[in-house]
Amino acid sequence: MASRAPVLVATSISKSFGPVPIVSDFSLSVRPGEAVALTGRNGAGKSTILRMLIGAVRPDEGRVEFDGQRLTETSAEVRRGMASVIDDLDFFPDLSVVEHLDLLARAHGVADPEPLVDAVLAEVELVAQSGQLPGTLSSGQRRRLALATAFVRPRRLLVLDEPEQRLDVEGVAWLAARLQAERKEGLAVVFASHDPYLVREVATREVHLGGGTGGPSAETEETIA
C-alpha cells in the first residue's frame, strides 16, 4: 500500500490572514488507503489547511498537488476525484433531498443511480425526508445530507471538516464505520475532528496541530495504524 503514489501532496503550505499567520510551512502526503486526521484546538488551523487542500483557499506559500498535478479548485479532474464536505456546502432551495443526490450521481455519470441513492439515503436516515426541501431540514439532517453528497458519487479522496458536527451518537458511530470501510477499500481520507472516537476508529495517522511551541500549526504526527 505504501508503494502507491500519493493522491494528495501538500508541500510547505502557509497561510496568513492579514498579519496573523494561521498555517506555517505545513506539509502532508496522503496515499490511497490512508486516513489522516487533523486534530487540535479551535483556531489551530485545521479548517484552513483543509480549505487549502481542496483549493477553496489559495496558500500564500507552498504547493498542493492532486494526482501529481497542481491543484486547481475549478478543474474538472479535481472535482471528479475529490469529494469534500466543508462548511460552505450550499443546496438548491427548490430541489428535494433525494433529487440533490440523484443529480449528483447522474452528473458523475453513475449509470443507474437509483439503488445507490436509496442505499445512501437509508444509511444517513433521510428516507422519510427524501421529498423535503433543504430549507426545512434540521441542522443535523442538513449535515447528513451534506455527508451523503460525498457517498453517492465516485471518489478517490475524501476531505471532511469536522464531519461529526451536529450528528448524534449513533450518527457518529455510523460515520466512523463508513469512513473505515471507505479507507479499507482504498480511498484516501483527510479529515479534521474533535472527536477522539472518530479519530481512533478511522485514522491511520493523526496530525495534531498547535501542539508544539513552534508557532501556528506546529504539528506532531503520530502513526496510528
Binding site: 481542496i54 477553496a56 489559495r58 497542481r70 486547481t72 479548485e73 475549478t74 478543474s75 474538472a76 472535482r79 471528479r80 469529494a83 469534500s84 466543508i86 460552505d88 456546502l89 450550499d90 443546496f91 438548491f92 432551495p93 427548490d94 430541489l95 428535494s96 433525494v98 433529487e99 440523484d102 443529480l103 449528483l104 447522474r106 452528473a107 458523475h108 455519470g109 453513475v110 449509470a111 443511480p113 437509483e114 427524501s130 421529498g131 423535503q132 426541501l133 433543504p134 430549507g135 426545512t136 453528497t149 460525498a150 458519487r153
Partner: protein, 567 residues
Amino acid sequence: MAKSSRRRARRIDQAPEVAPEPGRPPEPVTDPYEPYVGREWTFAPEPVEGGRASEAALQGLVRQWRRGRATRTLWQVLSDAYIAVLSVVMIGAMATNVVIGSQAKAAACDTAACLNGRMLVPWGMYFALAALAVSLARLVGPVLASSAEGFWLLMAPIGRSPFLATRLWSVIAIAFGASAITMAAIVGVAGEPPAVVAAWTVAAAFSVAGLVAWAAVEQSFERVTALRVVQGVLATCATAVFLLMVAVAGGWISLSPPAALSLVPYGFAVLGLVLLVASSVMARRRLEEFRSARLTSGGSLVAGLQGSMFGLDFGLMRDIVVDRRAIARGHVRPARGRWSGVWALVWRDAQRLARFPQPLLGVAAAALTPYACEAVGLGMLTPWLAAVALMLALVPTLGALRVLSRTKGLARTLPFTTGTIRTALFVIPGVLAFLWALIVAPAFAGVVGGVGRDVAQASMAAVACGAAGLLGAVRWQTAKPVDFGVPMMATAAGALPPTLVLNLVRGFDVATLIVAPVLLNVDPIWSLALAVVVALFLRSGLNTDELTEQAKEQREQLDAERAKRGN
C-alpha cells in the same frame, strides 16, 4: 435627560473614589463591583402598576434606550448625508421633467387607437399595483415585529394591541403613500390630464391600503387562501388589460369606451375606502390574536432584506425571499432525474421550471413590453425597455446558477469546470430568451406602429434584445456581493467600498451595453457581436484567484527553467 436617566447618572456619580493615595502602592481590587454592593439599581420603567409594567412604559423604555445610544441627532445625519439629500432632490426634478416631457410627447398621440390604448394604462397599473400589494403583504405579514421584540416584548405579560397598532397603521400608511406616488408618476408619464391622474391616484391609494388592511385581518386568522385567489385574479386582470392595451393601440381591436367608464376610478376609490375602513377596524380589534411566530417571521424577513439592502446586495434579497417560499412549501413530490453528465443539470433546471412555473408568466409579460412600448409611442426606448423587462423576467429562471455562484461548495461537488456548469445553466433560460425573441420580432418590425424595420433587421434586433436580457440576468445572478474588506473609497458620505455603487447597476450595465447599437440605430449585428463577447466573459466566471494561480505557476516554471540553464 429623562428623570430616570438623571437618577441613574446621579447614582453612578456617587460611586466611591478608588484612587490610591500618593506614595502608597494601590491595593489589589479583588471585586470590581464591591463598592456598589447594597446600592439600589432601579431600571424598572415608570409607571409600574401592581408590579406589572404597562405596554406604554415598556415602549417608552425601549425608546429611551434607543435615544440614549444614538450618537448623532437626525439633523446631524441629514447634514452628513447632504449629497444623498441633493441626489433625491435632483432625481425628483429629473422625474418631474420626464413627466412633463412625456406629456408633451403624448400630446402627439391623437389617433383614436393611440388614445384608447393610452386610456388603459391606469387600469393596468391599478390592477398590477393591487396584485403587488397583496403579494408583498402576504410575504411579510403585513403586520410584523422584529425577533428581539418578539422575545422581549411579545412574550411579556402585556397587551399586544397597543404595541402592534403602530405597526398596523404604519404599514397601511406606507401602502397608501407608495401606491399613490407610483400611480401618479405612471399615469402622469402616460400623458393623462391632471383630473384623471388625481382620480386614479386616489383610487389606487385607497384600494391598495384597503387590501393591505384586509391582508392584516387574514393574517390574524392565519389564512392565505383568499389572499392567493385575490392576488391571482388581480394579476390576471392586469395582464388582460395590458394585452388589450397592446391590441387596441396596435389597431387590432377598436374600442369605443362609454363616457361612464371615466367614473370607474371614483367607484374604485369608494370601494377601496370602504374596504380600508372596515378592514382597519377589524384588524385593529384582532391585534391581540396575532401569534408572535407569525409576526416575527415577517420581521426576520424584513431584517434580512434590510441587511442585504444596506449592502445593495439584491441577489441576497432574492435569495432570502426564495428560501422563504421554499420553506413555506416545505415538501415536494420527488421527480426522477434523467440523462447523465452535464445534461442531468439541464434536465433538473427544466424540471425546476415545471415545478415552479411562475417565472414563465414573467417572460410572457416581458414579451408584451415591446408591443406596449411601440404602441404608446416609446419607439426609441423600446429595445432597452424590452431587454430590461426580459432580464427581470429571466432572473428567477437562473436560480440554480445563483446557488452555484454564491458559494463554491456545491459547484465543487460537480465534476465540471465553471464554464461547463454555466453553459449548462444557460440552456433553459436561453431557450426562453430565444422564444421571447421570436414572439417580439413583429413588434420590432413595426406591426403596432413605432419604428419600422425590415424582417431581417427586426429579427436581429429581437435576438439582440433577447441576448441582452439573458446576459443581463446572468450578470445579475452571478455578480459577487460587495466586498467590505477591500480599501474603501473616500466620499462625502463617508468611506464606501468601490463595488457598492456598481452593484446598483449590475445586469443593467450588460443589457445596456448590448442593446446600445440598436438604440443608436446602428446595425444590430454589432449588438450580437457584443453579446458573444459578453457571453464568453460571463461564461468563464473570470476567477481572479485562478488567473493569479496560473500566473504564479508559470513564473515558477520559468524560474525552474532558468535555474536549469544556469546549472
